[in-house]
């Protein structure tokens, strides 16, 4: 008889079922409602142009969201060094572009961010440090180094073809950058749901000690999660740098909170062990659609935070309530 624990798990099946599906249906329903509301609000909402806009605005953050989902699933809490790794990607690709060409520069940018992510991974996975404060500290360091590298000045790109390529349209409709983003989402989803690393990530998030005792390299799995956010943020920074043809150290500010908002609204729990990349994608889409509607309604940029804050509270409160009534707190 251990310390008082909630009632034994054998609750009635239907409640378990409801909480099992409740969380799944909530998001698509929310998105549907937003689409309908959007259409009612402005006739320009349901146009190909506008929806493509929403997808473009989502792409840069979306790539980071995929990485952040792995951090959440492995119970890594959050990666606050995202602004730094995004900046590293953006600054390096434009900084080195003239000397070694855009593609090699892009690779160097992503690699540098991957190294930063790897260091985070080592500190948190192997040394077992607290993820929040560690990524906070490493973020300030990496951002500082990135600025020292470019001498604290704005970096300008000189390859407008690359910019045209990324922002160009395939079959006249879908911008290339959106395709890249969707590809990252699909690959991310498959890795998390179908690969060994993905299965291990869920296991580590759900019960780290049992997973370790099942011959799973727990430390390595946790480290990889942070390596992924670092690499993907770097990649997103590179894409951003190329699309804008200019990069400054503060290019990634606020992206870590936007990514966390999307993952949380998507229903991926901070406690680890559950949630998928598609949930997070759904969460991001939901937030972006709402933001788009607010813009179309003329709501100024800053006050939109009211809706985002309420959205996070709503999504998590419902998830917690469902989970607790399902008896599996």
């Amino acid at each position: 008889m251990t310390t008082p624990v909630p009632p034994p798990p054998g609750r009635t099946i239907n409640r378990g079922l409801f909480s099992h599906y409740g969380a799944r249906l909530g998001l698509p329903a929310g998105i549907l409602v937003t689409l309908i509301a959007g259409a009612l609000v402005s006739d320009r909402f349901l146009t190909v142009q506008n929806l493509t806009n929403v997808l473009i605005n989502m792409s840069i953050i979306g790539i980071i969201v995929v990485g952040m989902t792995f951090v959440f699933v492995t119970r890594g809490l959050a990666d606050l060094s995202v602004p730094a790794t995004v900046a590293v990607g953006g600054l390096l690709v434009l900084g080195l572009e003239s000397s070694i060409g855009t593609i090699p520069a892009a690779i160097v940018g992503v690699l540098a961010a991957a190294i930063a992510g790897g260091i985070n991974g080592w500190l948190i996975g192997y040394a077992g440090l607290n993820p929040v404060i560690t990524t906070l500290a490493s973020g300030t360091i990496v951002l500082g180094i990135a600025q020292v590298f470019v001498g604290g000045v704005i970096v300008y790109g000189d390859n407008t073809e690359a910019q045209a390529f990324l922002t160009g349209r395939v079959f006249g409709v879908v911008p290339v950058i959106v395709l890249i983003f969707l590809a990252v989402v699909v690959i991310g989803h498959l890795v998390l749901s179908r690969s060994m690393l993905g299965r291990w990530s869920y296991a580590v998030g759900s019960n780290p000690s049992a997973t370790g005792a099942s011959a799973v390299p727990v430390k390595r799995v946790r480290a990889i999660a942070f390596l992924m956010t670092g690499t993907l943020s770097g990649f997103s920074g590179v894409l951003l740098g190329i699309t804008l043809q200019t990069a400054r150290p503060g290019i990634g500010t606020g992206y870590e909170f936007d990514a966390i908002t999307a993952v949380v609204v998507g229903g991926v729990s901070l406690l680890g062990g559950s949630g998928t990349v598609l949930y997070a994608f759904g969460g991001l889409l939901f937030v972006q659609l709402l933001t788009n509607i607010m813009v179309l309604l003329g709501v100024p940029t800053e006050p939109q935070g009211l809706v985002k804050g309420a959205l996070i509270v709503g999504a998590v409160a419902i998830d917690v309530a469902l989970r607790r009534r399902g008896g599996r707190e």
Binding site: I133, A137, I141, G144, V148, I260, P300, P303, G305, A310
Partner: protein, 349 residues
């Protein structure tokens, strides 16, 4: 393996880590004194402390929240809101009543955070991220993204001018509050029970402590402190602006953690936070005197923070020795040596 054990478990090393803040602070002051002329002059110290006061007030609130095992990201947004209330309402209500309304805003915001975490049971990182976005947007909405100005710039000077050549008003307010926090954490029943709530909520509950009340109180306290910081900050510049306090919380968390408070809860001290704040203030002052670029300053602060977390981990990795100076003294006196250092039940979470 054995070599590593005895270096890191020797009392000297433990003593060092336990009092690391004092050591890092001393090192910073030594560096500052050698490189920066007039660094140790009273005037520089008074200015450095004044700059730290607003950050310090937010850090005081965060210390309690961290010891309770939670996080509060919304301090900066609450600071902005309180400032706007304090200045914006001066015309109608007069300066003093408006300041109290500003304080009330802090308390209310803290209560909202408490409600989200304790009643809705939302994880505090996510809950205060949401409230941060919410309060910041509210600040912009109320002021339509424009700063509000007070009726009399001289009124605020009392707060930000050194009183009789010594410290400024807000530095004194900060010192009084951090000393009170120290006494509360070490001497009061509620303070000691906060450690119980932070380190083991179930055990606290089983001993008749209402953990949820403590958590709620911790967030109200943190909100109140952010409110006090907002009132004082806005009075000293006679302006309330929706963009105030944007990155104050992350620096405050760094200061509190440098001071030895752990994010996992159950451990921390007001003196540690004071040490962390003084270290950051000394660092900023020393480096600004050398017009060291802001991004290099960020690297130095980041490295120190990381060093301390790593140091703290190596110590708590092995069995946690009771290495306060008092314990060392007591142990030497009673010269009790227990060979078997059996692995304790309470591994580092």
């Amino acid at each position: 393996m054995n070599a590593r054990r005895n270096i890191f478990t020797s009392d000297a090393f433990h003593g060092l880590v336990r009092n690391r803040v004092v050591i890092i602070l001393a090192a910073t002051l030594i560096i500052g004194a050698t490189f920066v002329p007039g660094f140790l002059e009273f005037r520089t110290a008074s200015l450095g402390l004044d700059r730290m006061a607003t950050l310090g007030l937010v850090a005081i609130g965060l210390t309690v929240v961290l010891i309770a095992g939670q996080l509060d990201l919304s301090g900066g947004a609450i600071l902005a809101l309180s400032g706007i209330a304090t200045i914006g309402l001066q015309a109608e209500l007069g300066q003093i009543p408006a300041a109290f309304v500003g304080l009330g805003v802090g308390i209310a915001a803290g209560a909202i955070n408490g409600f989200l975490v304790v009643v809705l049971r939302i994880n505090s990182l996510v809950a205060t991220l949401a409230s941060m976005l919410f309060f910041r947007a509210l600040a912009h909405l109320i002021t339509e993204s424009r700063p509000v100005s007070g009726i009399d710039p001289f009124f605020g000077l009392a707060v930000s001018r050194p009183i009789g050549g010594t410290f400024t008003g807000r530095t004194l307010i900060f010192f009084v509050l951090i000393i009170l926090l120290h006494l509360w954490l070490t001497r009061s029943v509620a303070g000691r029970q906060l450690f119980a709530v932070g380190s083991n909520p179930a055990s606290a509950e089983a001993s008749g402590i209402r953990s949820r009340a403590y958590l709620f109180g911790a967030f109200v306290f943190s909100g109140t402190m952010a409110g006090v910081a907002g009132v004082i900050q806005s009075l000293s510049v006679n302006t309330g602006s929706p963009v105030f306090g944007e990155n104050i919380v992350l620096i405050a968390i760094a200061a509190v953690v440098i001071g030895g408070t752990r994010l996992e809860g159950g451990r921390g001290s007001a003196l540690g936070t004071l040490g962390g704040l003084l270290t950051i203030a000394a660092l900023t002052t020393a480096m600004e005197y050398q017009s060291v670029p802001s991004y290099v300053q960020a690297i130095v602060t980041g490295v120190i923070l990381l060093l301390l977390i790593l140091l703290d981990r190596t110590v708590s990795g092995s069995q946690r020795r009771d290495v306060t100076l008092a314990a060392l003294w007591r142990r030497a006196r009673s010269s009790r040596s227990s060979r078997i250092t059996e692995r304790t039940l309470h591994h580092e979470k």
